[in-house]
Amino acid sequence: MTSAKTVESGVAVRVRQLRKSFGSQVVLDGVDLDVHPGEIFVLMGPSGSGKSVLLRHLIGLETADSGEILLNDTRIEDEGVRDRFRLAMVFQSGGLLNSLTVGENVGLYLSEHRLKPAVEIERIVQEKLALVHLGPKDSLKYPSELSGGMKKRVAIARALVMEPQVVLYDEPTSELDPLVAVTVGREIVRANAMTRATTLVVTHDRDLAFGIANRIAFLSEGRIVAVGTPEVIRASQDPLVHRFLSADFTRD
């Protein structure tokens, strides 16, 4: 990948007054967000605060009740937007197809859309797997044979195959031990440095957030209550943010 291409790859993501309710439960209550091209933006917040729902709106898996999402200046609902912008998502569970091998999972986007010949797909698959420290032997395994951390890494490789301009990560370190979580965090930073794709990470893992983010937003009860660099968030006087960041087993 050339450096010129990588610099251009990230796009700005803007969220304007996004609202979503499931029945009587308001999940997103007028969310406003600006994510700069190429940055790693972490969305933090307690469980049930609407982080994953917001991410699902960004990738088009949910439709908002009102408000809009813009990629550069294009509304995400506009015709052909998915052809103009490549968005990839790494799911909390990995979202790997259990009936396919690791290699087939990673190459699925290219093979199903017939973007490259089979030999070329195989080469790209091995290249992307190598980026997440997985080898040719791993590509023959099925997802059921992988550990949680390996599944996440395969999912990252599958996302990278799309050469995405925006990568969304949903709780990438959930269910992982601290050592594997650190590895996955490093993979996210490496992938961002390599592709310059705008990277949005949803997590309530404080170590991950402060370890990888260029900026952090704090979401609580469907609203953004704080946005800024890790230093700004750490110094936030907002009671919700403060309570979330200072919570540990010895206090309270």
């Binding site: 898996l61 990839a88 699925l108």
Partner: protein, 248 residues
């Protein structure tokens, strides 16, 4: 369900792209069900002979047994029993597989890769079941008639020779009867495929939701099969009356 059926029909011209998935599904359905279908048919044919044989023989109509067993299997029992078997064996597996893919975000992952789950998952399954089930009916008919002939020949209360059985079968059963059965089977197969896939894709709420989906898929399929059976039989009746009048 109708929306899914419409989407599957619209995707049908692109089935060649999914030939690998189609071949896997065909193997899965055919291979997994052939033995069961044969066993079921053998005994259905045998029971038909056992029940109807003595009644016909007592009235001096034993020679008509072959036609009766053949027509019953081809037009009614074969299609209905095979479809119910497939709904229970394959339809439940489809609902469980798609349900689990839904719950574990595999279907969401496909969408994020710009892959239409209907084309990738539903189309090959519906086409495979629609091809495999009529093929199973042909096997079922052959094995069922053999079962009927066996019981007719070796049961003392029936005592119809295999030659007489097959002779009557040959003169009574017309190609249109078999076509009648194949049409029914094909429509049942499409119904089972769409109902079960729809139920799988609609799964919500974790492993418990998968269980609920499987149960609903099988129950709904059987209800649809029985209702459709009446409707299709009623519609096809004018075309088969002639053969019934001329046969037995």
């Amino acid at each position: 369900m109708l929306v899914l059926f419409g989407a599957t029909l619209r995707a049908l011209p692109r089935i060649f792209r999914y030939r690998r998935n189609l071949a896997e599904q065909l193997f899965e359905i055919g291979n997994a069900s052939l033995f069961m279908a044969c066993v079921l048919s053998l005994f259905i044919g045998g029971v038909l002979s056992l029940q109807a044989g003595p009644l016909l023989t007592q009235r001096g109509l034993g020679s008509l047994l072959g036609g009766l067993v053949g027509a019953s299997l081809a037009k009614e029992l074969g299609p209905v029993m095979m479809s119910i078997l497939i709904a229970g064996r394959i339809g439940s597996a489809m609902a469980a597989e798609l349900g689990s893919m839904r719950v574990y975000q595999e279907i969401d992952a496909l969408r994020t890769l710009n892959i239409d789950p209907v084309e990738y998952l539903v189309l090959p399954r519906v086409v495979a079941i629609s091809v495999a089930l009529p093929c199973l009916l042909v096997f079922s008919l052959l094995i069922g008639c053999a079962g009927g002939a066996f019981v007719a020949a070796f049961n003392a209360d029936v005592a119809v020779s295999a030659a007489a059985f097959f002779n009557n079968l040959k003169t009574t059963l017309e190609p249109r009867d078999i076509i009648h059965g194949l049409i029914k089977t094909f429509l049942f197969a499409v119904t089972v495929g769409v109902v079960c896939c729809n139920q799988g894709l609609d799964t919500m709420g974790g492993p418990r939701g998968i269980g609920r989906s499987v149960t609903k898929a099988v129950v709904n399929s059987i209800v649809f099969i029985l209702v459709l059976d009446y409707v299709i039989t009623r519609m096809l009746l004018p075309f088969t009356k002639a053969s019934m009048a001329g046969g037995f």
